[in-house]
Symmetry: C2
Subunit: 96 residues, 2 copies
């Protein structure tokens, strides 16, 4: 019973690796087996959550990089456009 209490406290602190030995086929054994299924399932769910977070974090980085590249391109084109306007103005003045 003390092992189950300690294991339950470990899970409460986020340690999903906690397991209890199933040493009997009575109710204590049933509870220990249920505890082990529970920690296993919680571990699976946590791994899925972590995987989803990593996927999303990667998407954020990718989209941010692409946005940044596109915005740099806009700035570059705006600069070229204003240089072109300047050049055309100078050429026009020189022709007159």
């Amino acid at each position: 019973m003390q092992a189950l209490i300690a294991g339950t406290e470990r899970v409460a602190q986020g340690d999903l690796a906690a397991r209890c030995e199933v040493s009997s086929r009575n109710e204590m054994g049933q509870l220990a087996a249920a505890f082990n299924r529970m920690t296993h399932q919680l571990g699976v769910a946590e791994a899925e959550n972590d995987e989803w977070s990593r996927t999303l974090e990667k998407r954020v980085v990718e989209e941010t990089e692409q946005r940044s590249r596109a915005q740099q391109q806009v700035l570059h084109m705006e600069k070229m456009a204003s240089l072109g306007t300047l050049a055309a103005t100078v050429a026009h003045e020189l022709n007159n």
Copy 2:
């Protein structure tokens, strides 16, 4: 004890709202109290995970929208630039 086994099975199935009545001050009561602390903490952790996922999903949507706008702007400017080149070529031909 059966209530604890049932509660543990519920948690294994992802139901973190499971609680057990603490009806005694012996080891069973200690275990029930530990179980309730555990499900409470798991619920808190799950809520934090959900919040973080929502934050990331929102960031993905925002970055995607901004990237899309910047890329549209690039396309628009490229179109304007090639129309400008065409117009300059036509004007040049007409002057000669």
